[in-house]
Amino acid sequence: MTIKETIEEIISEFSSFDDWMEKYNYLIDMGKSLPMIDDKYKIDSNLITGCQSRVWLHSEIKDGVIVFTADSDAVITKGIVNLLIRLFSGHTPDEILSAETEFLDAIGLKDHLSPTRSNGLLSMIKQMKLYALAYKAQEKPV
C-alpha cells in the first residue's frame, strides 16, 4: 500500500467517528497495539524532544525501506505515533520525504490534538523525515 493509500484509509476510518470520544478510543486502541520498540533502543538518544510524554523512536533500513518502532509512556501519544508508523514504516526514504501530512488536519487531529509541543505530533513527523533524510544521504544504507 502506498502512503497515499494509507492516508485515504485513515481518513475514511476517522470519518466514521461521531464525536471526539470515539476518536480518542480509537487512538487509545492504536496505542495499545503499537509495534513495541526493543528495550535496548529505549535510550535517551532515541527520545523525541518537544513532547510532554516521553517518546522513543527507533529506525532501521531493510531492503531499501525504513522500519520504525516506537514507544511512549502515554497511551494517546502511543496511538499517534502508531498512526505515523502505519503511514511511514516500510517505505523508502524518498517516499517518506515526499509524503504530505496535511491530511492530519482533515481528520481532526488538528482540532483535538493541536500540533504543539504538548503532543509532539510535528516533532514525531520531523524526526521520521530526518531519519529518511539520513538514510538517503548514506546512499548505501547500513
Binding site: 471526539w20 470520544m21 480518542y24 510532554q52 510524554s53 502515554a74 497511551v75 494517546i76 501519544t77 503532543n119
Partner: protein
Amino acid sequence: MNPLIEKIRADFPILQQTIHGKPLAYFDNAATTQKPQSVIDTITRFYTEENSNVHRGVHRMSQAATQAYELARQKMADFLNASSSAEIIFTRGTTESINLVAYCYGEAFVNEGDEILISALEHHSDIVPWQQLCIRKKATLKVIPIFDNGELDLDAYKKLLSAKTRIVAVNHISNALGTINPIKEMIQLAHEMNIPVLIDGAQGLSHGPVDVQDLDCDFYTFSAHKMYGPMGIGGLYGKREWLEKMPPYQFGGEMISKVTFEKTTFNELPYKFEAGTPNVADAIGLGAAIDYLGQVGWETIRTQEADLLAYGTQQISAIKNVKIIGTATQKASIISFVMNNIHFFDAGTIIDQFGIAVRTGNHCTQPLMERLGIIGTIRASFAFYNTRNEIDRLVDAIGKVNELFE
C-alpha cells in the same frame, strides 16, 4: 451559585467563553490568573489616550504617564506595606527579579566557599539563577529537604544555616504542591545569623495579604500576571539597605544619573535597577489589578478559595485511582494529583475535552518531582472566581479518564 461569585465572574470576560463546546472551567490559575475588565480597560485606555514615555519629559502627556507609572509603584508599595516606593523595582516578573538579586547581590556579597540555601520545593526560576551564581563564584548550593507531604523540614533548615550561608531563597507558596511555607519563622531564624532572605512570591500575592515589614524579608519577588494583572510586568521588593549596596543589573536609560565618556554615575533607587524604557502600560495595569483585589477584598477571596480547596480535596481524593500529591497542613488552593498507571498527558488531554483547563507535567520543578519519585502531576489551581460546580465537572472528567484508560 453564590450571587457574589456570580457577580465576580461577570468581571472576567474570558470566563464567559466555551471551549470544545463546553463552558470554560479555568483551573490553571497558578500558571496565570485571568484579568478583570478593569485591568484590560486600563491598558487599553493607556495606549488609546495616555501613551507617552515616562520621566524627563516636560510635555503634558509625558508628565501624566510618569505620574501614572509612579502611582502604580506606590500602589504596589502599599499593597506589600513596603516602607517606601523606592524599595519597589519593576521588572518583567519573578524570574527576572530573582535573576537580578542572584546577580547583583551575588556580585557584591558571595565569594568562593560560600553557601546559598534554597529548598526542595523551588521552581526552576528559584534554582537556576543561584546555581549559575554558584558556578561563577565557586560557591555551593544547599537544599532544605522536605517531608513526603510537601512540608519543609525545619529542623534540617536550622542545621543547614551556617556561617557560610550568604542568602536563603525559598518560595512563599509552592507552585507545584500548594504548600504555604512558614516564611516568617524561617526569616527570623536566618536573621538570627545575619543571613538575608529572598522570598519567591510568585504564588504568594493572589491568596492573601503580604506585609513585607511584618515578615521582615529582605527581598520579595512577584509577577503581576499571577495576581490578576498583565503579563510582562512584576517586580522586586528589596530593603533599601541591600538595594543601596548592590551594583546595578543592566545599564542605560533611566538608571543613569550623569554620563561622560570617562565615567557614569547611577541614578538613585528605584531607578538604579530600571534600565531602559519601562513597561508603563502594564505597570499601570498592575495598579488596576491591585485596585480590583481591594474591591473584592481578602475576606471574600480567602473564604471562597478555602471552600474550593476543602471541597476539591474531598471530592478529588474520593475518586478511585487518584492520589493527591502535597498534603501539607497549610495549603493554598492548589491540588496536584497523580493517577495510577495513567500518564498525566493522557489525563490532561481528556480533561481538556470537557472544557476544563488544568496543567500537567513537572510544573518547572523537576528536582521536586524527582524527590517525590514521580515524573509529573495533574494540577488544578483555584481562584476565587471558580465554583464548586466547576469542581464537580472536573470530578466527572477524571471519572471519564478512569473509564477510558483502565
